[in-house]
Amino acid sequence: MGAEGSVDGVQLAPAVAAGAHSATSGPILSVSGVHRSFGGVVAVSVDEFHVDHGSIVALIGPNGAGKTTFFNVLTGFEKADGGSWHFQGHDLSGKPAYAIARAGMVRTFQTARVFPRLSVMDNVRLGATGQIGERLSSALLRWRWRPQEAELGERAAEVIEWVGLGAKRDDLAGTLSGGQRKLLELARAVMARPSLLMLDEPMAGVNPALRQSLLDRIRDLAADGVTVLFVEHDMDVVSSIAEVVVCMAEGRIIAKGTPGEVAADERVIEAYLGASSGDLRDVERDTGRAPGSAPGSDDGDGEAGS
């Protein structure tokens, strides 16, 4: 299987992430006063949050902290009760999910959502935005979309090689393992040429062999100037690639800093202690450096609507 074999992190497909803007400084995404509650329960209440251009930011927090809801709100999959967020200077608050993705803010899901009965190749092709042939008015005029389709095919093939699924190109996506689906989802998202990639628990359900490959791919993207914001439970993953760690608890952001700083923050430890003993293990692992412990099997935020 290609994916496990190729963990040479430096090799980067040239077509990947060509859409990313060169790393200018300043925030690519800035959020203010975003609020969301379900019934009487406050799921998200974020006063201020921003992501700098070209950075890798991890969003951590105990189960039910509101991370996934926050993600869903920012990407238009859930309505905000209030607040606004700007992406590359554009106000995206309240915009539909597809418009947000087209603006360059592309997300993946906690449980990889592939199109199971389409081939790996078709899955990746679908990632590309602005396809002429996807318009009904030109769908029957083959000559109008053929050149673009051929071009997309080449780029899709490169991206598939890049994530190490070359051998699976023509297989149905439904036949892939959980980890391979995560890689496929990443490849598909990359086809959309995102400037900000939002990964919801990229390592959930990924076996250790593929984990490294997935990490390397995320590093590749960052090296190419793509900004990455990801939700993750596993502190090993967080401390190995994130430059900035933001911790949420009960819908609020309670700490922000380098992985070391956040893990040592008393409020963070308290939040995890207050949640469940299972999550405490993650914090301990980071501070105490206990490698080889089981990857965080606690997937999913428990809050409503995740």
Partner: protein, 330 residues
């Protein structure tokens, strides 16, 4: 049972297999297959599109407009119905969409049937003389063509040519669309809407396009129906007809290109042959629980049983593949 003439029954089946009714079914099912098969939209009111197409044409002709203009108006009416029905309902869950569509189709039928609107729609009697212009340009010399009971008069043949040409054109369009990026996107949306949205695809617009396209083809089926004998009556536009079309789509193979036309042909062959056999066997005396007037109902019972068996043992239909069937049945 009594002696039956299998050959005569089969000839009846063959005649209806190429007849206009089958043609109308094939065309309507192609439209329904775009909605239900390719886009996964559960439209239980597809007959409404045909009604609007047929009545739009008939009312225009009745008011003295030329047939070509009337047919265009009928087609536009079906497109407008698709838009009006699709805009508010396509955000609904599949089951609500089904309820909303069947309701609208019934409302339309009741309106068409209304005595108070007789001046416009003709009420229960309907509108006749729709096809005068059409028959007047018929190049086929007057007469009957065919052998024995497998025969058609020149006007029927003329409408059959139009109908089957439309079936072929619509099938080619579906074939082209299903192989285009648009078709690929439709398939992706049917599998996982959320994932498609996350990739920047306007899922609602896509569904609306598929819905309106299906509705337009349903409208064309209605127009062919109006040209069959030149008269339009509300009794054809009952909800049952939509379900017959579902049967045709499932029989032929959900989300396939040739499924609906071939499914319609098989459907009509089986229905007519059975009808002929039952009529011969039961005759005027009736048999066991079946009175002679009930043979029409009995053939539908047999067709129902066939469909149940088909769904259990061959869910992909006659011409589909298994994977697609599973998707369509979600």
């Amino acid at each position: 049972m009594l002696a039956v003439n299998l050959g005569a029954a089969a000839v009846d089946g063959l005649r209806d297999m190429v007849g206009i009714s089958c043609c109308v079914y094939a065309l309507a099912s192609i439209g329904l297959n775009i909605q239900f098969g390719f886009a996964g939209l559960l439209n239980f009111g597809h007959i409404g599109s045909a009604l609007v197409g047929a009545y739009g044409t008939a009312i225009m002709v009745n008011n003295g407009h030329p047939l070509w203009l009337a047919a265009i108006v009928g087609l536009i009416a079906a497109i407008v119905l698709g838009l009006l029905l699709g805009l508010p309902t396509l955000r609904l869950r599949a089951d609500y969409l089904a309820i909303a569509t069947i309701s609208v189709a019934e409302i339309l039928r009741v309106l068409a049937n209304s005595v108070r609107l007789q001046d416009v729609t003709g009420g229960p009697i309907g509108i006749s003389g729709v096809a005068k212009d059409w028959f007047s340009i018929n190049p086929i010399p007057e007469g009957r063509y065919g052998w024995g009971s497998f025969s058609f008069n020149h006007n029927t043949l003329w409408t059959m040519i139009l109908g089957w040409t439309l079936v072929i054109l619509a099938s080619l369009a579906v074939w082209g669309l299903s192989r285009s990026p648009w078709g690929r996107l439709l398939k992706a949306v049917r599998e996982d809407e959320e994932a498609a949205r996350a990739l920047g695809k306007n899922v609602f617009a896509l569904k609306l396009q598929a819905f309106v396209l299906g509705s337009a083809i349903g409208g064309a089926a209605g127009i062919v129906f109006a040209l069959r004998g030149g008269f339009v009556t509300p009794s054809f536009f009952i909800a049952q007809t939509t379900f017959n079309w579902y049967l045709v789509v499932i029989l032929g193979g959900v989300a396939t290109v040739i499924g609906p036309p071939l499914g319609a042909m098989v459907y009509w062959f089986v229905i007519s042959t059975l009808n002929s056999l039952l009529t011969q066997a039961i005759g005027n005396d009736g048999w066991w629980f079946i009175a002679s007037t009930e043979t029409g109902a009995v053939r539908y019972v047999l067709v129902g049983v066939t469909i149940v068996l088909l769904l259990v043992f061959r869910p992909q239909g006659l011409f589909g593949d298994r994977e697609e069937a599973r998707l369509g049945g979600r």
